[in-house]
């Protein structure tokens, strides 16, 4: 088993499948009256969050607690970080406290890689800048597999702000490893020129959502990340929504079995229309529930065995 989960590229098909299978067993246990398992008793998991997050942090916290690990939540606000402490010094503090795993979210791409060289425990990337968010990709893959029965051969469109999306990067890497065919869709300003080739040569790019939809098994809508957009990437929110937003008429272009995903938080009415988000094809709430199972699987597989 791997020690760190810094990038979806850390996972080969075999390991990724093991994580998804384990997540399936964890999901089955979630239906029980007693949800807690003794597996990680005596281990410490630190949630180190330098960026705001609700679902990812809570999801990791729930996952660690269900496995009986001790959880320490650290957010940059209200900590020594606001006094100017560097990531390295914070890491050394955590190291001295004996963290077995550090779950890190950081605005700087690559922060988990640096952290891994400073601490002895496992490092799990919970989102670093515009780089990666591998556990999101795992829960997305798990959701696809449980809804559609497989991943190999699925046609998946990832739509929207690919430029700023760590979810998109991790998903392209993981889903390609597992045999899906990815098409990135969005305005040219939000799809970096070489990204398809850089992530995997099989990845396609399209600037026309309507022509792509009829072929797809999965449409993954990305959030328009206004907080990361210093420049203007498209003329207006309305124009973006009209060309790349998923509304009910567009949803009807999809094949009967296709599902609609969104990593959350959504901008309702911007990239996804409310009636689509709330439709039976949408897996948005399921994704959150699956997130806990997927993260339990990751924590168990990284921390459960011999270090």
């Amino acid at each position: 088993m791997i020690k760190h989960l810094r990038s979806a590229a850390d996972l080969d098909a075999e390991t990724a499948t093991l994580i998804l299978d384990t997540a399936g067993e964890m999901a089955a246990l979630a239906g029980r009256e007693v949800k807690k398992l003794p597996t990680l008793r005596g281990r410490t998991v630190v949630n180190l969050f330098y960026e705001d997050s609700t679902r990812t942090r809570i999801s990791f916290e729930a996952a660690a607690k269900r496995l009986s690990a001790d959880v320490i939540n650290f957010s940059a606000k209200g900590s020594s970080v606001s006094k100017g402490e560097s990531l390295k010094d914070t890491a050394l503090t955590l190291q001295a406290m004996g963290a077995d795993a550090v779950v890190i979210r950081h605005p700087a791409s690559g922060a988990p890689h640096r952290l891994a060289s400073w601490v002895d425990g496992s490092v799990i990337n919970a989102g670093d800048g515009t780089h990666e968010h591998p556990t999101q990709a795992l829960l997305d893959a798990y959701t696809m597999r449980s809804r559609l029965g497989k991943i190999d051969g699925l046609k998946v469109a990832i739509v929207g702000d690919v430029l700023h999306s760590r979810v998109a990067r991790s998903n392209v890497l993981l889903l390609t490893t597992l045999g899906a065919e990815i098409t990135l869709v969005g305005p040219p300003t939000l799809i970096p020129v070489d990204i398809a080739a850089a992530l995997s040569p099989q990845t396609k790019v399209s600037y026309d959502l309507d022509s792509v939809l009829p072929d797809m098994d999965v449409v993954m809508m990305l959030r328009v990340q206004t907080e990361r957009m210093q420049d203007s990437y498209f003329p207006s929110a309305r124009e973006y929504s009209r060309r790349y937003g998923l509304d009910a008429p567009r949803m009807r272009r999809l094949p009967e079995h296709a599902i609609v995903m969104h990593p959350g938080p959504m901008n309702r009415g911007m990239e996804i229309a409310p009636e689509v988000a709330d439709s039976s094809r949408s897996t948005i709430v399921e994704q959150v529930a699956n997130g806990v199972s997927a993260r339990m699987a990751v924590l168990y597989l990284l921390l459960g065995g011999k270090a």
């Binding site: 093991l18 067993e25 964890m26 246990l29 496995l67 168990y300 065995g305």
Partner: protein
Amino acid sequence: MAQPRADTETPSKIILTSSDLHRVVDRIAHQILEKTSGATGTVLLGIPTRGVPLARRLAARIHAFEGIDIPVGALDITLYRDDLRLHATRALGRTEIPADGLDGRRVILVDDVLFSGRTVRAALDALSDVGRPSSVQLAVLVDRGHRELPIRADYVGKNIPTALSEKVRVSLAEIDDGIDEVKLFGGAR
């Protein structure tokens, strides 16, 4: 636990042949019927990997003898093991609890080999998170001794005195390419 089987060692002894194994399963099925007065309110829970097909066989034999169907399930104990940190991470087995649950039932845990007793200890912990059986019994195909915990089986297929350096391998047709047998490997020559 199921491990990939590299049969590189020469077998020192075959302990149970296919027909022995079937007779032993028949006997345990009879003993269960006798000891539980007809097996009413009984649930068989196999411990993966090889406890699960064994539990199914026992249920099938009980059905053949008395015409009654008793619920069969599986109880994976990996997440309850006390030796997780001593080995590389293990893949999880499947837990399947019969639809009617375990509350108030007599649960018979089924495993292939009883050795240190730690698997059974983990199974008892796992069981208490799933439900509250009225009683718990243990059926094993082979008891090889060397207990590390105060645990004993209610139904034993065969007692085999072993040295700690020896290995007992149970093969069941459902999992092991159609082969039914129990072998003893290794040990001092």
